[in-house]
Amino acid sequence: MNVDIQSLGTFNRLAHEGAEQATAAMCQMTGLDAVVDVTKISLVDRADVGEQLAGGEYVGVRFDFAGELAGETVLVFDREGSETIASALVPGGAVDEAMARSGVEEVGNIMMSGFIDGWADFLEATIDHSPPQYVEGTGTEILPVAPSGGSATVDSPDGFEGQDSPVDGSLDQVFVFQSEIEWVGESVSFYIYMLPEYGPLADVMSRHADAEDDAIPVDKLGVFNEMTYDGTQRAAANVEMMTGIETEAEVTQLSFAPIEDVPKQVGTDTYVGTVVEFTGVPSGYLVVLFDEASAVHIAEAMMPIELDSDELTDQHRQAIEELGNIMTSGFVDGWANVLQTSVDHTPPRLVHDMGRSIVDPLAAQVGQHQEHAFLIDSEMRTDDIAFGAEIHVLPNERELRQALDELLVERADQTEADVEQIFE
């Protein structure tokens, strides 16, 4: 199956417009004000779908849909948001639990009908959906299990062809359409997740794929995502070796979003980290980010002496700069080795700013040549101390396409170079 950039852009716009329509319906019914913040299409490990919801308490409205596209979609509110909606629907009145639940269900029904209708109209086909099902849960419990029916995997040396469950540690990847909607003036958000079955989605994508040279075989996207996961594991291993802190690769996803939405993926928290520009095929930018507390912890773990400081000193910054450098190499070396090319990168530049402010100028650079961007996101965590790190990669879209075109799937596991053999 091939998918071309134009189709991905179209699908992304459809999901975004659907989310806008759904949001407008909600605003009309409740008098509340909300805007669609970001919409993206992600290729993600089935187990990691909805990772951003981890830890929160949510209510939602879930639907099955079938027809030209099939799968499940769910509208997710945090509990506070659902109470706001219920109160807005019955202004001034006491809202009992049953009424609140019914109100959220009906709002969800109307919102999601609009969302799905947009897809049906575009596809000039019928998409039926089930009655709304009210759901409650913690974290990803609120989401349906990502549907099976094949996944974006290929016949690789690991043998993970079309599996519905991971084999030999390989990823079991699914496409997810995800919109994040913000209440205006509030710090709460709600989300729309659409989890289509792979088979019907593949058919639709194939039909809309351009025969021209911007088509990408989706199986190669899956392999690339797998390579990215390997890179994250190597970066995590490097962190562990330098700090002694046990670190695990967590989420890896390949997303596709309009260039103007790229900075929004990183959020408004303050981060410390490094930025490098890499050249080769593909070229682009790679950002390693630590939240401020993690940056202090991790830097101190790298140093032989205890600084005992809650603030970032020059020594902390030097340590972070070097760690960013080593994590960057750990991340991109695998691509270079599989693609049998070299990927050069600049020395790391230390950054300390709001996430969006760090990524904004990079997106602007990449956006000079493209309207949409692939964004590669990885996270790593540890249970030992409060520590989190994120890696975001923003490759040149045309060059990534070229790299995928040249990617030999049978080399997908050749991520490590043999130093001893080369220096024999």
């Binding site: 490097n238 070796m241 330098m242 790298m302 032989p304 020594q315 030097q318 340590a319 700069e321 070097e322 450098n325 080593i326 960057t328 190499s329 750990g330 991109v332 070396d333 270079a336 080795n337 049998q340 090319t341 070299s342 990927v343 050069d344 990168h345 600049t346 020395p347 490590e416 170079a417 043999d418 130093v419 080369i422 220096f423």
Partner: protein, 119 residues
């Protein structure tokens, strides 16, 4: 004790290498880029250069090539975070005698040095 020149743009990494090496080696200089590495090599003629690859102004592979052109008998170990096969081949072509990937620990550094400059 062998004279060693450390070329790395990261102060953190220069400190780390110095701590690993100073007990058994004479650190004759620490530089931050490939241009300074070549200049200091020519001035001080050390027994060994520990050379990073990704450095500003001139990278470590270009600097190695220049040092080896100047003195084919020079000993240069690439000491880098880059683990790419093509880069390693470039390093071999430039004349590098050894290659250590970061992050490293003392035994692997000492082993690589021993291979190139036997004690």
């Amino acid at each position: 004790m062998p004279d060693v020149l450390i070329a790395d743009d990261s102060e953190f990494m220069r400190n780390l290498l110095r701590e690993i090496l100073e007990e058994d080696h004479n650190i004759i200089g620490e530089v931050e880029n490939g241009v300074e590495a070549v200049e200091t090599y020519k001035e001080r003629d050390p027994d060994l250069v520990m050379m990073d690859i990704v450095m500003p102004i001139r990278d470590g592979i270009e600097a190695t090539d220049e040092i080896k052109t100047e003195n084919p008998g020079a000993n240069v170990i690439m000491c880098t975070s880059v683990g790419q096969e093509e880069k390693m081949k470039e390093a071999v072509k430039a004349g590098a005698d050894g290659y250590i990937t970061k992050p490293f620990q003392k035994p692997s550094v000492m082993e690589a040095i021993d291979d190139v400059v036997p004690s």
